[in-house]
């Protein structure tokens, strides 16, 4: 017996993968883990609720959004561009990390996480938020509410919310182009 397969080609962290044969109905997280050795995305609930598995989908209209990979089939990503936690930090020509992203740096500086299982997805969700604010800045007074709303779907079972939220808030407030001064 063999599983029916479908061809899959996609761009992950700027690099094209495929075409490769993927069993029909296989979820994206399994493709990342088992076929591409990209193990940084975490499998949590397996039901699209905890958001530990989210990756960033770069849409053709230059916007980005989170997509849970545990309940999204690999076929959804055919022809699409995504970023995983492995592609967030700055790397040099040899693929070595030279600098964390501002979000990653802030999480590290603030000890935002304990066990770290939810952290890759928190990084991705915060990155999506910051990219959104670049396109549509919010008033400074609304930053805390904006962070809380954007990260609400991310579940952390150790402690993290306050230090995660404060770290993202501070990254946003320190950047010149993510907020407005009006009410």
């Amino acid at each position: 017996m063999s599983l029916p397969t479908r061809p899959l080609t996609l761009t992950i962290n700027g690099k094209t993968h495929g075409p490769m044969d993927v069993p029909e109905g296989m979820m994206m997280i399994d493709v990342l883990h088992e076929m591409l050795d990209l193990t940084g995305s975490r499998l949590g609930c397996g039901q699209g609720i905890c958001h530990a598995c989210v990756v960033i989908w770069d849409r053709d209209d230059q916007t980005s959004e989170e997509v849970p990979t545990c309940i999204t089939g690999a076929g959804f990503f055919d022809g699409k561009r995504i970023r995983t936690i492995e592609g967030i930090a700055q790397t040099n020509d040899r693929g070595e990390i030279v600098a964390l992203s501002p979000v990653q740096q802030a999480f590290t500086d603030r000890f935002s996480f304990q066990c770290g299982y939810c952290t890759p997805a928190f990084v991705n969700a915060a990155t999506v938020l910051i990219e959104r604010l670049k396109r549509a800045p919010v008033p400074r007074a609304q930053v805390e509410a904006t962070v809380a709303a954007a990260l609400e779907s991310q579940i952390c079972r150790c402690t993290g919310y306050v230090r995660y939220y404060e770290a993202v808030r501070d990254v946003i407030l320190a950047a010149p182009d993510l907020t407005r001064d009006d009410a």
Binding site: G25, G48, I49, I71, T72, G73, G75, F76
Partner: protein, 422 residues
């Protein structure tokens, strides 16, 4: 008959009609009062308990409570084609509630659609159904609500467009459309059937959503329970023929009304609060009576899901729909459509997929369904909406894949139909 006599007759009829209406108005307004003593109602505990049960069966709380507001303190906005009506405070607060209402006042509201001050109610308050209530039951509900904690929550004014903002107009509406009893949806005569008719037609006022409405907002009593879209989601056809065509049985209906979950699917949209506030509280006998009435004393056999036409559902027949299902749905609803027990509903045997009208399936695909709790600590997780991930053509193909594979329906949903509900 000469022309002159005809004119005279019509004129005479008109005068009689005007006098009749004027008399009714005069009686209502003469009876109507706004001040008066605060009522002190002391009913025996068993009457209050019966009133509580009946108030639950009549689902008063669903409308007379605002989201997050105190129970029965009013405030739920009800949209209609004529404007917005706000449910009122029916706690015994003397000024904002019904604290000065007598049992007679309460009865007139339920039975005639007239407020204590003599003004007409709008049929957003389902006196059109409650008219069939017994006086004893109305009095028991009155005894129950009058011992609730009074809530000092002001009522909001209705926001209706002219001419519907003239409450007197409802007198004419009532003459045309108010009936002492509503037609039976099924054939029967057994005691459970009779009880079920009272629970479904009168207390449960199921027809207020499930019966199609005419241009003046009246229930079209020639087609009781044939289904209607009052809002974004449609209340489906719950005639015996409609129910069995989607695989419903008496046992399935009892389970659904008591628990909100059955093999045929879960309660969502406006039906979810009906389960949670009303039918979950009913006795097994009453749930059985409702199921008996909905299907009749001799219920037709449920229609099994027809075998799939291979031409319509082969792997390549709707490759786009199947591919979207695998990409976006199968992670939760399963490759085989069986769902996840206690977490995600099955697509196989799902009543919404088996509806001939694709509207609710389309809305579920586009909007998703929020997470929901059910009786007995059951719950269903949130379903995301896919309006931003699927174009009209892709979403229509997905709907058709679902309808053909697990609904026994035609794959006739067009991209235009999908677009119309965005």
């Amino acid at each position: 008959m000469t022309f002159r006599r005809l004119v005279l007759s019509v004129a005479a009829a008109a005068v009689v009609g005007v006098i009749a209406i004027a008399t009714l108005v005069a009686i209502n307004l003469w009876r109507g009062t706004t001040g008066g003593p605060v009522q002190a109602v002391r009913a025996p505990a068993d009457v209050v308990a019966r009133g509580k049960y009946l108030a639950e069966a009549a689902d008063c709380a669903a409308c007379h409570s605002a989201p997050g507001g105190a129970p029965f303190a009013g405030g739920l906005p009800m949209q209609s084609g004529f404007g917005t009506i706000y449910a009122t405070n029916i706690t015994p607060d003397p000024d904002n509630g019904i604290g000065r209402w007598s049992a007679d006042d309460f009865w007139r509201a339920l039975h005639n659609g007239v407020r204590r001050d003599g003004q007409q109610l709008y049929p957003a308050m389902p006196y059109t159904s409650y008219r069939g209530m017994t006086r004893a039951d109305a009095d028991a509900i009155y005894a129950y609500v009058m011992q609730l904690r009074p809530m000092n929550v002001p009522n909001r004014e209705t926001e209706l467009n002219f001419p519907f903002n003239i409450r007197l107009g409802m007198l004419g509406w009532n003459l045309l459309f108010l009936r002492d009893s509503l037609p039976a949806v099924s054939a029967g005569s057994s005691p459970p059937w009779q009880r079920g008719r009272y629970l479904v037609n009168v207390l449960g006022h199921c027809g207020e959503c499930h019966t199609p409405r005419g241009i003046l907002g009246q229930m079209e009593l020639s087609r009781p329970f044939a289904g209607f879209a009052l809002g974004r989601l449609a209340a489906p056809d719950i005639t015996p023929a409609g129910l069995v065509s989607r695989g419903w049985t008496a046992a399935g209906l009892r389970t659904f009304l008591g628990r909100g979950l059955a093999r045929q699917g879960s309660a969502f949209g406006d039906m979810h609060p009906v389960i949670m506030l009303s039918t979950r509280n009913l006795t097994d006998d009453d749930l059985n009576a409702m199921a008996t009435y909905l299907l009749g004393d001799n219920p037709p056999a449920p229609t099994p899901l027809p075998p799939i036409d291979p031409a319509a559902a082969g792997p390549m027949a709707n490759a786009a729909g199947r591919s979207s299902y695998m990409a976006l749905c199968a992670g939760c609803h399963g490759l085989d459509g069986n769902g996840v027990p206690n977490t995600v509903v099955a697509m196989r045997d799902n009543s919404t997929l088996r509806l001939a009208d694709p509207r609710n399936l389309i809305v579920a695909i586009l909007d998703g369904i929020g997470s929901e709790n059910f009786p007995h600590h059951d719950s269903m997780q949130r379903m995301p909406g896919f309006s931003d991930k699927l174009g009209d053509g892709e979403a229509a193909a997905l709907a058709n894949y679902l309808r053909v594979t697990w609904g026994g329906q035609k794959g006739d949903v067009t991209p235009a139909a999908m677009h119309a509900l965005r």
